[in-house]
Amino acid sequence: MSILIDKSTKVIVQGITGNAGIFHTTLMLDYGTLVVGGVSPGKGGQKVIDGRVPIFDTVEEAKKATGATATCIFVPARFAADAVLEAADAGIDLIVCITEGIPGHDELVFANVVRQKGARLVGPNCPGLLTVGQANIGIIPDNIFIPGPIGVVSRSGTLTYESVDALTRAGLGQTTCVGIGGDPFIGTRFIDVLPLFEADPETKAVVMCGEVGGSDEEIAAEYIKTMTKPVIGFIAGLTAPPGKRMGHAGAIISGTSGTPQAKVDALKAAGVAVAESPSQIPGLVKLALGL
């Protein structure tokens, strides 16, 4: 078991013929991910990566030919919104958008369309997701993972790697790791991922890495109160000044909204063990699991 993806998930890659597309698709394949095709308009009929991956002109064709249910989008920001819409229209269930720098208005539009179609969007501006030993959709480095009972969800890429690495070094393996992305408007939020971990029999505890900006952590805290599984939290940006965007478009304290302290307080009130440093995460997980 796992959440969202496993070794039988058929994946296509939109924007596969770009540098990032080829590079990461190769890594995804090497990890065992079932990448069944790529989309690159005008290059349909070709094959890439030593002939392992057939290219299609449209997502619709790719889906029809391969039965793909998931897509990973690497196309540049100005074309990314169209790629998400195309995937949703073609009936793809899981749309993972790695692309950073998409205009907010486009995000508002496609997030709505994806929801109406009943599909799920992860990202944009995210590292993707990985189910240990089974499938990797996106750019998460796979060599830091070992199998185990911990689910990981995070707004940040490298901070996730840091946390996962700490877990692995402490012998705490993972089920699935979901990078939900750093933009203010993302398709999948903490509140959407936590119920999946709660329902997954293999996941015994969840590590959730938040950061300044917005109120997704506070919303998640309300749900955590109802969870049976322990959640270990971390919030980045205790020293972030208000009014300044900290790299991520979503990481900004606006007035009284989005402060790290409010998030820490909300999580603690929900019974979450909040680490002060990523290095404390493994210890808190062990404590929560009685190890």
């Binding site: 480095p141 490298t158 840091e162 950061e211 980045a236 205790l238 900290m246």
Partner: protein, 385 residues
């Protein structure tokens, strides 16, 4: 990207949102002739990236061209303190506008709302006042209405927002088209905030945008060709402006002493937090991004060191796409090109961390295994310095 009021009003005009007759002026002569052309009492407004300009003394009424010229002589080139921006800003331009015969004032804004994942239309019938103050004192005078991104601002949505704020029912029919035009301007310019405070209803029943605050989505500038020239970083921190020019994600932090360079926004923020926990004060946020090459690492080091408050630099890299050896080479390049006088601690983990560490052995940089160790080391070295 922040716009000046006069720039925002150019957008409003393009989308047929009524604005007062007026012109922007950079010299006393231009102010005089603009006033003469308007031919009635004018208001002179200093163009700075801040609200609260009245309180700062940057907004003045003038009945005649001579009076306007005298005010312009006083204001142009003057630096004033703006409490809202918490900064001294220089007035380089004045917007000269007809003074409106105000009957009612309301507040209107459209902005992106994270909670509803929608654009929202905010209406307050207490125009001219700060919206946060109104929210505390008379929340019933404010309505917040989500806008369907696929339908845009429909008539009924605009109307219902006005009803919900308790707006005068007799004015609704003539205000709705102005709100729709404002929404078109907001979407058409890829704004993330369009605030009209006040929206003025004049004695003769016209609905006119009195002031305008406007923020453009930087991610959309590629398709806003006409607006690209509106960018003006002269009021920004000079190091931030330089970093921006070089395409580096850098935020300067007040009162810091340790320069921070890392990859990934969350990791860099966490590194800042660790430095604080170790007793230091982060001097900046700098994210070299994913897959950074040696040149951008060198560039980043130069930016961070250009802040004289920086007493030490901490590199914290967790390699994924970013490779430890590439970063190490960038640091070597930087050390060769720059005259570095402060200690540098480098923590490399993940992809090619060992190769990176080997490269750095030839230098006098201080290696660290973990983020926490790195933070403690740089603080100790920087304080000793």
């Amino acid at each position: 990207m922040k716009l000046y009021e006069y720039q925002a009003k150019e957008i409003l005009k393009k989308y047929k949102v009524p604005v007062p007759a007026g012109a922007v002026a950079e010299t006393v002569d231009e102010v005089r002739s603009a006033t003469a052309k308007i031919g009635k009492t004018v208001v002179l407004k200093g163009q700075v990236h801040s609200g609260g300009r009245g309180k700062a003394g940057a907004v003045k009424l003038a009945k005649t061209s001579d009076e306007a010229a005298a005010i312009a002589h006083d204001l142009l080139g003057k630096t004033l303190f703006f409490a809202q921006a918490n900064a001294n800003l220089k007035v380089n331009k004045l917007l000269v506008e007809e003074a409106l015969a105000i009957k009612h004032e309301i507040y209107i804004a459209i902005t992106q709302d994270r909670t509803t994942q929608r654009d929202i239309l905010i209406v307050s019938t207490k125009g001219g006042m700060d919206i946060e103050a109104v929210a505390e004192e008379s929340p019933e005078a404010i309505s917040k209405t989500p806008i369907d991104p696929l339908l845009g601002l429909t008539d009924y949505t605009a109307r219902n927002a006005l009803f919900a704020a308790g707006y005068d029912k007799t004015l609704i029919a003539k205000t709705v088209p102005v709100l729709k035009a404002l929404y078109a301007a907001y979407i058409g310019s890829d704004a993330i905030l369009a605030e009209i405070n006040p929206l003025v209803i004049t004695d003769d029943g016209a609905v006119i945008a009195g002031d305008a605050k406007w923020l453009i989505d930087d991610n959309a500038l590629y398709r806003q060709i006409d607006l690209q020239s509106f960018g003006d970083s002269s009021e920004d921190d000079p190091i931030e402006a330089e970093a921006h020019r070089r395409g580096i994600q850098y935020v300067r932090l007040e009162g810091g002493n340790i320069g921070i360079i890392g990859n990934g926004a969350g990791l860099v923020m966490t590194t800042m937090d660790e430095v604080k926990r170790a007793g230091g004060a982060p001097a900046d946020f700098l994210d070299i991004g994913g897959g950074a090459k040696a040149e951008s690492v060198r560039n980043s080091l130069e930016i961070v060191l250009s802040d004289p408050n920086v007493k030490g630099v901490l590199f914290n890299i967790f390699g994924g796409i970013t490779r430890g050896d590439e970063v190490a080479n960038g640091i070597i390049e930087g050390l060769a090109a720059l005259d570095v006088k402060v200690p540098i601690v480098v923590r490399l983990a993940g992809t090619r961390a060992a190769e990176g560490a080997a490269i750095l052995k030839q230098t006098n940089l201080v290696p660290a295994e973990t983020m926490q160790e790195a933070a403690e080391k740089i603080v100790a070295l920087a304080l000793k310095n």
